[in-house]
Symmetry: C2
Subunit: 159 residues, 2 copies
């Protein structure tokens, strides 16, 4: 049976729940979670006067189960904004209940509402259950590879 979730924008009242979920996603993705300074920047960037992200929490029977972060990017060919999903995460105990699906559908509704030219996201190649879902909904897999330079490389770039 699918659990119906209630989706609400991250606010002062649920911000701590939101950060706890980010920490759990970082653990799941084997990445370094935000430290205290990062948490304080995150608060500013989510709830401040000039938010840099859109963040939503999903609860079921009053319990926090999932969150999503997205923001707008841009396609020069389309000359339209793109809704880019940065994080979409469901707590382990709430998986396989259609909850991630509801969060994804919410993102699609947001992209539609905002007149976006496309939706995009990335998935780790080891995350087979997510990939299975993206294939099922006929998402197009890109023949592009993602590259990055970290902060230290940016600061000491000598090429």
């Amino acid at each position: 049976m699918n659990h119906k979730i209630k989706i609400e924008k991250v606010n002062k009242g649920n911000f701590d729940d939101f950060v706890q979920l980010i920490e759990k996603l970082a653990k799941y993705e084997r990445q370094i979670p935000p430290d205290n300074q990062a948490k304080s920047r995150l608060k500013q960037d989510t709830l401040g006067k000039h938010p840099k992200i859109d963040a939503y929490l999903g609860t079921t029977n009053g319990k926090t189960a999932t969150y999503v972060i997205f923001f707008m990017t841009y396609s020069s060919y389309l000359a339209l904004t793109i809704l880019y999903i940065e994080d979409i995460f469901v707590l382990e105990e709430w998986r396989r209940k259609g909850i991630g699906h509801q969060m994804f559908r919410f993102c699609v509704q947001q992209a539609k509402k905002r007149g976006c030219g496309r939706m995009e996201w990335c998935v780790y190649n080891w995350n087979q259950s997510a990939i299975k879902f993206y294939k099922k909904i006929n998402a197009t897999q890109s023949d592009k590879t993602y590259y990055r330079l970290n902060k230290e490389q940016v600061e000491h770039f000598s090429n």
Copy 2:
């Protein structure tokens, strides 16, 4: 010998040169170039009151040779903005003269100046000359795959 380029922000005076380069990149990447409506949105999104992208042109001896578009994305773990390069393109006749390298270095300087936590970009897997450069500068290749839903899929999502 490397050609030194002059880099300037896209403005009303060079906007048409900028659009011509985007059309040439679209052709090079075997994608659909912006139509007239898209060009007019692009003008608004580049030069309007609320720009959605940062766009710069590079000229050598007064001739337009290259452009770059970037914008800010975000990392929830770092809680810092990321400079994301959407397009970086050098006209065919100006390649292999260190021009793309200078544009890339300009992006690194911008990322540094803006206190970004990282720089990111994507490259088509067939673009071996670009990949060679990114390997040379020790950029990290991500083990992520890019997925997308196009506008029609977003509008008629029924999953």
